[in-house]
């Protein structure tokens, strides 16, 4: 099983994925919208975990037109859903609000609140198994 994790702050919270890794899941990491967008086009993953607020690129900033794209993660979700209705897509974020949640629900995306999440809980949510 493979998983794409998009989070610019993945290093600090990499402990969250440690228990999933222990089960043999391959995890690819992207830290920006442009990097992830390219990876999505190159191949498909079984599962996607995406942060809503991510940088556009690691080596340049947003143009003035893109300034209002507050949730670049949402853009990624749309890109995934265009070609892939079946994969499990999760949004892992502290920024999810009601409006975004509604859109995500419509796109069959589960929202996981970041903050007090235990790695074992995340494992259960992502893989649908009960912790032993």
């Amino acid at each position: 099983m493979n998983l794409l994790w998009v989070d610019d702050d993945h290093y600090a919270i990499s402990g969250l994925m440690r228990q999933i890794q222990a089960l043999g899941v391959t995890i690819d990491v992207a830290t920006s919208y442009s990097e992830a967008s390219k990876m999505i086009k190159d191949r498909s993953y079984d599962k996607y975990v995406i942060d809503l607020v991510i940088p556009y690129s690691d080596d340049k900033d947003l143009s003035a037109e893109q300034e209002n794209e507050r949730y670049l993660g949402l853009l990624l979700v749309q890109e995934i859903r265009v070609n892939n209705r079946q994969s499990d897509v999760f949004v892992l974020s502290v920024a999810a609000n009601e409006v975004v949640s509604e859109i995500l629900e419509y796109m069959n995306v589960k929202v996981i609140a970041k903050g007090g999440l235990l790695p074992s809980d995340l494992k259960n949510i992502l893989l649908g198994t009960r912790a032993g």
């Binding site: 290093y11 600090a12 607020v53 991510i54 940088p55 670049l72 903050g115 007090g116 235990l118």
Partner: protein, 379 residues
């Protein structure tokens, strides 16, 4: 008559004498009548003369009157001419007055228009002021809520890291964590806890800005302190493939200063955190230390999102986030630079930044901190 007859009868027969006497009598009578006529004529002539004289006098008087009249006429003509001139002048004056009046009216209209415009623009200004006040109130409310939300966001991110690593340590055996993994996990917990403390110190200092009671002095190595600050952001820098380069003018033991150590740790941590946050990947953050004439100079240079010339004055304001840093992923409380400058100023120092220089791979920005190596508290 009888006398005449008597006289004549001596010379002439009586009949003739009677006839002659009648004739003479008649002659005398005629003479008397003639004389009376003459006398009457004379009288009449006298009267005529008198009348003529009177007429002459009248004529003279009339002539005189005429003369007077002529003069009066001349005078009146002159007067009329004068009056005409005066009238003409008055007409000119009136015409000029009319023109002046029209001009004045035009100017009055213009002034009225301008007044209207001014009133209108004043109304507009008043409206703008009222709009601004309303916006300001909204901003105040939103910014307070925003500041709390940002702080909340940051704390949640740190806590998420700590909680995840802590559970993994708890399940270390089950997860078969290697000694290296154990070490790095513990280090990360420590680092996240330190960053949390930095966040809380910033919050405290942002609220109690300028409070001299918070400051205490000791002598320490600013070089070691800055190395410690850099260490706080090692993991983050590594993740962004950013290298720290520390440059110093002078030997390691030449950087002892007297100041508030914990506050300067917050100030330099904030400045270094700011440099890493706004750096692009694969770049260097260069920190330079020098002491000259009892002044400590520290410069922190990074390449990435720059600072506009018009926002240089704003970036040190509490809650300000850079205009060029459009990317919403650069989270933060917007307190870092504000607190850093407050701390440096409390040490009688300065934080300066110039407009970023555009390079091929981004904007080069340099913050320069100057602090007296021995600051005497003003208290």
């Amino acid at each position: 008559m009888a006398d005449i007859i008597q006289l004549l009868k001596d010379f002439l027969p009586i009949e003739i004498a009677i006839l002659a006497a009648i004739f003479i009598y008649l002659l005398l009578l005629f003479k008397g009548i003639a004389e009376k006529f003459i006398s009457l004529s004379e009288k009449q002539a006298n009267l005529a003369e008198i009348q003529a004289s009177y007429l002459a006098q009248r004529l003279d008087a009339v002539e005189k009157t005429l003369g007077i009249s002529d003069r009066a006429f001349d005078f009146q003509e002159k007067q009329i001419k004068k009056l005409q001139e005066v009238t003409q002048q008055q007409e000119i004056d009136i015409s000029e007055s009319l023109k002046a009046k029209q001009l004045a009216e035009m100017k009055l209209h213009e002034a009225e228009d301008k007044l209207q415009e001014t009133i209108h623009s004043l109304d507009l200004k008043a409206q703008q002021v009222s709009d601004l006040q309303a916006a300001l109130t909204r901003v105040e409310i939103t910014s307070k809520a925003d500041a709390i939300l940002r702080l909340n966001h940051e704390l949640l991110a740190h806590m998420q890291s700590v909680i995840a690593d802590a559970e993994n340590l708890q399940l270390a055996q089950e997860l078969k964590l290697t000694p290296d993994e154990l070490g790095s996990t513990a280090r990360r917990i420590l680092n996240q806890a330190e960053l949390t403390v930095l966040l809380l110190q910033n919050t405290q200092l942002a609220v109690r800005v300028g409070d001299q009671d918070l400051y205490a002095q000791s002598s320490f190595s600013i070089l070691d302190l800055i190395k410690g600050c850099m260490h706080l952001f090692d993991d983050w820098a590594k993740q962004k493939r950013i290298s720290f380069r520390l440059q110093q003018s002078g030997s390691d033991d030449g950087f002892i200063i007297t100041a508030d150590k914990s506050k300067l740790r917050v100030a330099f941590s904030n400045l270094i955190q700011n440099a890493v946050k706004y750096s692009y990947e694969n770049s260097d953050v260069v920190i330079n230390l020098a002491i000259k004439d009892k002044l400590l100079y520290v410069t922190i240079t990074n390449i990435g999102v720059g600072i506009n010339s018009d926002e240089i004055s704003k970036i040190f304001q509490a809650g300000y986030r850079g205009a060029l840093g459009r990317d919403k992923s650069r989270t933060g409380t917007g307190m870092g630079l504000f607190v850093a400058r407050s701390i440096v100023q409390a040490h009688s120092g300065q934080v300066r930044v110039a407009e970023s220089v555009s390079l091929e791979n981004g904007y080069k920005t340099t913050f320069e901190v100057t602090i007296p190596t021995s600051h005497r508290n003003s208290k």
